[in-house]
């Protein structure tokens, strides 16, 4: 692998090794944020949305009929 000489050494090290030379990403397989951050908030699903979807579909009688006809 060739490198351009004008890149900072730190960036070159990061690219070659996959982690920073200063050891700030010492465990490269896990998020490092747990070390410094309070708990994060990232929900990916909502029960109320699931219920609402089912209600919307159930209220659409043409949709139900089309699905039955297809079956």
């Amino acid at each position: 692998m060739s490198h351009s000489e004008d890149l900072p050494a730190g960036l070159r090290y990061l690219i070659e090794h996959g982690h920073a030379a200063d050891g700030s990403h010492s465990d490269n397989t896990e998020s490092t944020q747990g070390l410094v951050n309070p708990p994060h908030h990232n929900p990916t699903a909502s029960d109320s949305v699931h219920r609402w979807m089912k209600q919307r579909a159930a209220a659409d009688h043409q949709m139900q009929a089309a699905a039955r006809a297809r079956a």
Partner: protein
């Protein structure tokens, strides 16, 4: 920290002898602690500025945002934020944000306070009244079911869910003039990439640039306009890639490139055409890729005549209507699409010879479905037939020699050869070259063809669908891609389904007949549309009423944002919604934007601060010149403060189609609300006011599915429910997992078919956040990309026809014989089980007609299009034309400019004499415009932030030392730039970054100028768009603002009425009349 009080004592007695750490720390500093430490939670978010989509951690303490930092888990940004992203704490929590509704009554001289509920009721009343007064059931005897009395602008800075609600509500109300920043930034990208490859989005993704062996950045200042994304270019450079920057102006991108190529603004087609000619004449193309994956071998009808035959025109131009009839561009054996095939006398009369259809933005609809071509065409696998695409291409570009490139672009031949060698050496089975561009390519009267030229070059080099290859369209707004996909655009429905045309799409069947292909995935368009109609009208959409297809208002030509301005000036458009967009500064010919608004009955502005589009009636430039008087302006203005990205949940779609969710961190204050809240509650108020109406016009909005769950004290609609509607469900209310499951019988619902599966398994796929260190380059566990979470489009092309990688070094997606499926480092963009040796039957339809060797599955022939037999209105091949205003003649043809460009004649929109025309010497310099790292588009999200304005406090223009000498300009003094439209003043920056070029035997000077300023905010200045004209690309109505002609002189501009006289004097000197620059075909 040591207890010693004096730093010098600590330095001498402690371990920090060089005073680099604790010894230098003051007592105050020692007492400080990071804001992050005091937070009680972190909320995952996405930066609201440009299209890179950097992930953010929003730190919250006691329901207040206390800090915003980059999220290290993101595979896109890896924790970094640029100056704008870093300033987003100030954007969201700063004191410049308006808290309350403001109201300007007709003829009023100042703002008044109004409570939010009253304002919402008043806005609903205005809308209902204007709609009633301007309702139009038909036009020229064809049903239109619409109002042209109301228009909307804005959406690229909004969430997908907001755009979805806006488009849904406005469409149900019959409002067709719905537009956003995507029109004026990247609409030509959609047309150019879409007709070439079948989809209008970036073919690759930012992280994939690290695998490039050569990157050409052209029409973009990547390092400054998309700084965090630029890290992937630097990664490639560190791995040995060659970086080339082609641009009129030297910038930080140039400084980091291996080669900077200055060229004359507005000449990129000649430059790229020269490279195409080099590749063809030197036989440097990737033969197997070209033969198997492009339409190089397809035979074109003998009726076709090229620009080489007709001195700059293609065959089929009707000089009366100014429209090309594309019949002569077709493949031999291909039937013309139904839209033109059905043409009869009545059709021609109603559409003015087809011009209203040509103007209706059909090219924009190829964002996810190629142009319609039907029939059986012939191929010559030897590529020798004189009528095969390959030979036509060779002839078309044969005169684009290095000498001609030098003559047109001002690029020396040796520099041309250097670039040609680097891109060809770095393309082929073992190596790949990528192109990256931004609005330097898109904003021209031939913008769509700019993108086409790069597409042709990349197809010839075999660089599409492969790691490190592709074309990276760099988008400048957080969700400008999303606002095209889920469009607040007049010519599109969600998923790039075209808005129906009154004279073309009278029934659902006619619509499908006209626009759906019969091969490839676009053949399933009926299922996509019916599922959309089910999402909007639910049980009311039934087979017996064409699934409410009639509820869709019809377009009859151009209803784009610039046409809207004309309609405002003419008095037909009376009400205007602006949501997160500032046309009084950011749109071409800013004066006409303001004059249009001054002729409205009412205007609703939703933004963070009092942008120029909200205050023009009080303190706009026309007030100063006396052209308008506040007390004479009847426009009623409502200003409603908007919620920030931290105050609402929703998704942005970044520059490479990646849909990323941001969560609400805190509630908005006072009257601040999301655009989702505004649209939803306005819809409810309108429905309440119209309840019980027997008027047939009201039925679509009353039957609209508008029952979203709400959360919080403000009754915010639940964004995830809207996302779920967009993603689609079946009759059991279960989320869909693929658009292949969509049906045309009403048994499925899906608000945007290309986003189908974004809620698969009941999971908000756009909110997934697997940290990048745990993933490969594609990082498919981070959020979700359309379509179907595929990151590199057309990646079937990364394998050879037999399904094996072209090389070990460039392996990406390949056929696994044992598994009987495609596999690899990304989600395959191909039917998973379709074998490479699959060949369709002759009468096969739909996806069955796509062979196992056809990577471009959205194209009717499965091929990348070197030649576009359909889809664009200005030609099947890109051809060099001069910009609307140019100091030069076209060195290639008699035909100067794009013969079918769109012009808007108006006394405030005069064009310049060009080339050898008398008077052209009055405007001898080329002006090009650009973005700064520290500012954002028309300034609404940057000119009110102290951090950013300290960094970039003033409008300036960049000129070369030679031009400074020629015009007596002094560094840091003032200069005035003048066009026939206006004059602006700016500080002079004399710099060698601007290089004078030799073009056609003489020197041409170019001037660079950012476009962010306006009269309001913390740093104030003239708006660059006072200078620009409305001259548009005919495919998508994007304006030409990257190559203008101007004059420049030292000193400040005149004030007051003297400014108007100053412009008039310039017009007189140049002999400008209403006819100047208006000729379409050069006599």
């Amino acid at each position: 920290m040591s207890g010693l009080p004096w730093p010098v004592l600590r330095q001498l007695t402690g371990p920090d002898h060089r005073a680099l750490r604790t010894a230098a720390k003051s007592r105050q500093s020692a007492a400080l602690q990071p804001r992050t430490v005091t937070a009680d939670r972190v909320v995952k978010s996405i930066c609201p500025y440009c299209g890179v989509g950097c992930a953010q951690n929003v730190y919250v303490r006691a329901d207040k945002v206390v800090q915003i930092e980059g999220d290290p888990d993101s595979p896109v940004s890896r924790g970094r934020l640029c100056p704008k992203g870093s300033a987003s704490l100030q954007l969201t929590t700063g004191s410049a944000r308006e808290q309350h509704v403001l109201y300007r009554r007709p003829y009023g001289t100042d703002w008044e306070r109004l409570d939010l509920d009253t304002a919402m009721e008043m806005i609903a009343d205005r809308l209902i009244e204007t709609r009633r007064q301007s309702w139009e059931w038909e036009s020229d005897g064809k049903a239109t079911r619409r109002t042209l009395g109301i228009a909307h602008l804005g959406g690229a800075t909004l969430d997908n869910e907001e755009n979805y609600l806006i488009k849904k509500l406005w469409t149900a109300l019959g409002i067709v003039q719905v537009e956003n920043q995507a029109r004026v930034c990247h609409s030509s990208t959609v047309a150019g990439l879409g007709t070439s490859f079948g989809r209008g989005g970036s073919t690759t993704y930012l992280q994939n640039l690290q695998h490039s062996d050569c990157i050409v950045i052209e029409g973009s200042n990547f390092a400054e306009a998309h700084p965090v994304g630029f890290q992937w270019v630097m990664e490639a450079k560190a791995r040995g890639a060659k970086i080339i920057h082609v641009d009129p102006r030297f910038s930080r991108t140039s400084a980091l490139a291996d080669l900077f190529v200055p060229l004359r603004a507005g000449t990129d087609i000649a430059w790229l055409g020269g490279l195409i000619n080099y590749v063809l004449s030197e036989e440097k193309y990737f033969h197997s890729y070209v033969l198997h994956y492009t339409n190089a071998a397809t035979i074109v009808t003998e009726k076709f005549r090229d620009t080489e035959d007709l001195d700059g025109l293609f065959s089929g131009l009707d000089p009366e209507s100014g429209v090309y009839d594309g019949d002569t561009w077709q493949y031999e054996g291909a039937a013309a699409a139904a839209a033109s095939g059905e043409r009869d006398q009545e059709y021609d009369e109603l559409t003015e010879g087809g011009s209203s259809v040509a103007e209706s933005g059909q090219a924009h609809s190829h964002g996810s479905g190629g142009a319609t071509v039907r029939g059986n065409w012939r191929r010559d696998e030897t590529l020798r037939d004189p009528r095969c695409v390959f030979q036509i291409l060779k002839r078309h570009y044969a005169r684009y020699t290095p000498e001609l490139v030098e003559q047109i672009c001002g690029v020396p031949r040796q520099v041309f050869h250097q670039v040609a060698e680097w891109i060809t050496e770095n393309s082929g089975p073992e190596r790949t070259t990528a192109f990256a561009y931004a609005v330097g390519w898109t904003q021209h009267t031939v913008g769509s063809q700019y993108i086409r030229t790069a597409s042709i070059l990349q197809l010839l080099l075999g660089n599409i669908g492969r790691p490190g290859g592709g074309i990276m369209a760099l988008r400048g707004h957080a969700s400008i891609q999303g606002s095209s996909d889920i469009p607040t655009l007049f010519d599109l429905l969600p998923g790039y389904i075209p808005m129906p045309h009154a004279h073309q799409h009278e029934t659902l069947d006619k619509f499908v007949e006209a626009d759906a292909a019969d091969r490839g995935y676009w053949a399933n368009m009926r299922s996509y549309l019916v599922s959309l109609l089910k999402a909007w009208w639910g049980p009311h959409a039934r087979p017996e009423n064409d699934f409410c297809f009639d509820y869709l208002p019809r377009i009859t030509g151009d209803h784009s944002t610039y046409q809207t301005v004309q309609a405002q000036l003419e008095g037909t458009c009376k009400g205007y919604f602006l949501m997160g967009e500032n046309p009084a500064v950011g749109s071409a010919n800013a004066k006409m934007q303001r004059l249009g608004m001054a002729n409205l009955d009412w205007l609703v502005v939703r933004d963070f601060s009092l942008i120029e589009s909200a205050t023009w009636w009080k303190d706009g430039p026309e007030i100063e010149t006396g052209e308008l008087r506040t007390a004479d302006i009847g426009t009623e203005v409502f200003f409603l403060p908007a919620a920030a990205h931290t105050e609402k949940s929703g998704s942005f779609t970044n520059t490479n189609r990646l849909v990323q969710w941001h969560h609400q961190a805190v509630s908005p204050s006072a009257d601040q609300r999301s655009d989702m809240w505004f649209s939803y509650h306005l819809g409810n108020i309108i429905r309440r006011k119209l309840a019980g109406s027997a008027d047939e016009a009201d039925r679509p909005v009353l039957e609209l599915q508008w029952d979203y769950p709400v959360i919080g004290a403000e009754a915010e609609p639940e964004a995830e429910a809207i996302l779920a509607e967009i993603g689609g469900w079946n009759a059991d209310g279960e989320p869909l997992s693929t658009y292949e499951d969509l049906k045309d019988d009403g048994s499925t619902s899906c608000g945007c078919w290309i986003y189908c599966s974004i809620y698969s398994d009941g999971v908000n796929q756009a909110a997934r956040r697997t940290p990048h260190p745990r993933q490969d380059t594609a990082a498919t566990g981070w959020c979700w990309a359309w379509p179907m979470n595929r990151r590199e489009l057309y990646n079937r092309a990364s394998a050879d026809p037999s399904g094996k990688p072209w090389s070990e070094r460039k392996k990406y997606v390949w056929w696994d014989e044992e598994q009987g499926s495609w596999t690899g480092l990304d989600v395959p963009d191909f039917p998973a089980g379709k074998r490479p040796d699959y060949r369709p039957a002759e009468d096969a339809l739909g996806i069955d007609a796509i062979a196992g060797t056809d990577p471009f599955i959205m194209q009717a022939d499965g091929r990348g299009w070197l030649y576009a037999p359909a889809g664009l209105v200005d030609g099947p091949l890109p051809t060099h034309y001069e910009p609307q205003d140019s100091p030069f003649e076209n060195a290639l043809y008699k035909q100067r400019r794009n013969p079918v460009r769109i012009l808007k004649p108006d006394r405030h929109n005069r064009y310049h004499p060009s080339g050898s025309d008398p008077g052209s010497e009055v405007f001898p310099y080329v002006l090009t415009t650009y973005r700064l790292t520290e500012h954002f588009t028309a300034g609404g999200m940057s000119r009110w932030l102290p951090y950013l304005n300290e960094l970039q406090p003033e409008l300036f223009c960049e000129v070369s030392p030679e031009l400074a000498t020629e015009r007596g300009l002094r560094h840091r003094d003032w200069a005035t730039l003048v066009t026939a439209r206006g004059a602006v003043e700016a500080r002079v920056l004399v710099t060698r970054r601007m290089v004078p070029l030799r073009v056609q035997g003489r020197t041409v000077h170019q001037i660079g100028m950012p476009y962010h300023w306006g009269p309001n905010g913390l740093s104030r200045g003239d708006a660059m768009n006072e200078l620009s004209a409305i001259a548009l690309d005919p495919n998508v109505h994007i304006q030409e603002v990257k190559a203008l002609t101007v004059d420049i002189r030292p000193g400040r501009r005149p004030r007051g009425p003297a400014l108007v006289a100053f412009i008039e004097q310039y017009q007189q000197r140049a002999g400008i009349t209403a006819q100047t620059g208006m000729e379409m075909v050069t006599p």
